[in-house]
């Protein structure tokens, strides 16, 4: 590939950058572990969408209306 090509230069920037990381490797490992905990463990097991769990599609306004109007 032509090394002056802009796409090659972008590719080279990232590949070379990731390869030569030192502290960055530790930080990326922490980021990935954190993202796994947040999106896989927390989101799936602890943070369901409350309305979607209790109302079918299109019924959400009715469900929320019941929730809100019954509290008066």
């Amino acid at each position: 590939m032509d090394r002056k090509n802009v796409f090659y230069r972008i590719y080279d920037l990232y590949v070379d950058g990731f390869r030569s990381m030192t502290l960055g490797r530790t930080l990326w490992a922490i980021i990935l572990i954190k993202l796994f905990i947040i999106f896989v463990i927390l989101k799936l097991f602890f943070f369901p969408n409350f309305i979607k769990e209790h109302a079918s599609e299109g019924e959400e306004p009715e469900f929320v209306a019941t929730q809100i109007l019954n509290q008066q």
């Binding site: 990731f18 930080l27 922490i30 980021i31 999106f39 306004p61 109007l69 008066q72």
Partner: protein, 512 residues
């Protein structure tokens, strides 16, 4: 007491949900201001390198960029958890605000991902790959990207405090955006953005001064420390003065939009014209509160009792009492229930229009319809009173601190400071600078306490109280995730501080 707490946990699910949100927001806010503040300082250091081509400045910029990177990596995605909490614990709120809240958050996500990830990569990987000018632009754009992200988050927050540019749709049960510009350029959002971002620069400046002072105390990295102190103290002094000015403007916004918050901040029960500002209980600066709130030393400032009972505003209009607002809120709720029932039954359009008219004319007081006791709309006064004083007091301390640091560094006035050298001060001077780091965070978090406690009980000002916004979830499950977060956040914070301290101890890597 603990047993009782867990046995009655369902009754307090709202408190757990609030505590969890506060914990997550406070944790997220540990990273954001340092990102915004360090971005300015590393940008200035790299600009010095660009102008002089002295490798010292490149090494200095790279050192602060390394600390920026650690903080940035630790802060990534901590704000996402807040969005999870909206969907699970605050589902009524999430549905009720709908697209208005979603739009700024979506823009923030896109901007954060594309702008920051692109320019952060160039900043770290591009030193030998791109031109100096392009690299410098990338460094500044990294900071600008983070600042733009903050803008959209603060737009969303400002809308909750001052809902504008929207209309309630009783069919979808959602507030729908009618003017994007009104939401995006809300005066309340602009004031909030200016004050929040400028105060974040103070944290960046205090952090850089503290790290530099540690080096000076250890008699190492003297040049980097001295030059960094000059830059950080200048940024810090400008930011501290800017925070005072933008804070004054924010106070005026609050006095117009959330007078109850201002009254709680001052523990002002019976207001009036020519009000003094309390330094501590019983000690007041005459006329200062009137000036802070209205730009007029004789300006009228309503107190908590005035707001509860109704008062005449400075423009002559009457602000209804809370009892009247409760009545109008109840009318809106009843009309909404009747409208939905009538629509299902295929009622006459004229009747539907009548209900709609009642809803629309009373919607701004919708939330008051859920208030049983008018005193429930008074936020916790002592928290607001002291949090405000801590924020302002520490803000004044930072102005003094940065002014003294600059005076000593530049030996001005010469006659007084000639004998002082910033590199050879007694250790306790450096310790004072280091100990200011937690105080800077306390000041910043106190500002958020004022902003968020001061608007209680509203999730959306006057439209939705917390106890209606919260989901019908089990308190135990919210309590469980609260403690899970507490553990995770503490662990992550320890990891961050550990990595940060190791890198500070290691110091910069010099080219020569």
């Amino acid at each position: 007491m603990t047993t009782d707490l867990f046995l009655n946990i369902d009754a307090s699910s709202i408190n757990w949900a609030r505590a969890q949100f506060a914990l997550t927001a406070i944790y997220h806010w540990l990273f954001v201001p340092l990102t915004l503040g360090l971005a300015v300082i590393m940008g200035i250091c790299e600009t010095c390198w660009y102008r002089t081509r002295d490798t010292f400045w490149r090494d200095t910029a790279q050192f602060w960029q390394k600390l920026f990177g650690i903080n940035f990596a630790m802060g990534i995605a901590t704000g996402i958890i807040l969005e999870f909490e909206f969907g699970t614990n605050w589902s009524n709120y999430s549905w009720f605000v709908g697209d208005i809240f979603g739009a700024p958050l979506a823009i923030e996500g896109i901007v954060a991902f594309f702008m920051e990830s692109t320019f952060v990569a160039v900043m770290y990987f591009g030193w030998k790959k791109v031109s100096p000018g392009f690299h410098l632009a990338s460094t500044w754009l990294t900071g600008l990207g983070a600042t733009i992200s903050a803008w959209w988050i603060l737009v969303a927050n400002a809308w909750m405090q001052y809902p504008v540019g929207c209309a309630f749709n009783p069919d979808t049960m959602r507030n729908e955006m009618v003017s994007f510009l009104d939401v995006a350029l809300s005066p309340f959002a602009i004031d909030k953005f200016c004050h929040t971002v400028i105060s974040a620069w103070i944290i960046g400046a205090v952090f850089v001064v503290a790290v530099s002072c540690w080096y000076l105390m250890k008699k190492r990295e003297t040049k980097l420390a001295t030059e960094s102190i000059k830059i950080a103290a200048t940024v810090g002094l400008v930011a501290s003065l800017g925070a005072a000015m933008t804070g004054h403007k924010s106070a005026q916004s609050v006095s117009e939009v959330q007078p109850m918050k201002l009254a709680a901040m001052e523990a002002l029960y019976d207001g009036g014209p020519e009000q003094g500002l309390a330094i501590i209980p019983g000690v007041k600066v005459p006329y200062a509160l009137s000036f802070m709130a209205t730009n007029d030393f004789a300006g009228y400032v309503p107190g908590i009792n005035d707001i509860l009972n109704g008062y005449a505003k400075s423009d002559g209009t009457l602000e209804p009492s809370v009892d009247e607002k409760i009545e109008r809120g109840k009318q809106a709720i009843t009309a909404l229930a009747n409208y939905r029932k009538a629509k299902k039954e295929g009622a006459d359009p004229a009747l539907l229009n009548e209900y709609l008219s009642t809803i629309n004319s009373n919607m701004k007081y919708f939330g008051y319809g859920y208030v049983k006791d008018k005193n429930d709309v008074v936020p916790p006064v002592w928290v607001n009173f002291w949090a405000f004083r801590i924020m302002v007091g520490l803000g004044c301390l930072f102005i003094l601190f940065f002014a003294v640091i600059l005076a000593v560094t530049y030996k001005f006035p010469k006659a007084l400071l000639q004998k002082y050298d910033i590199t050879t001060l007694p250790d306790w001077h450096y310790w004072v600078a280091i100990l200011l780091v937690p105080l800077a965070y306390i000041a910043s978090e106190s500002g958020w306490l004022v902003a968020e406690f001061g608007r209680q009980p509203w999730t959306i000002q006057d439209m939705l109280p917390t106890w209606v916004a919260v989901s019908d979830v089990e308190g135990f499950s919210v309590a469980l995730t609260f403690f899970l977060f507490l553990f995770l956040f503490t662990l992550m914070l320890c990891v961050e501080i550990n990595i940060l301290l190791k890198q500070i101890k290691k110091g910069p890597e010099y080219t020569n």
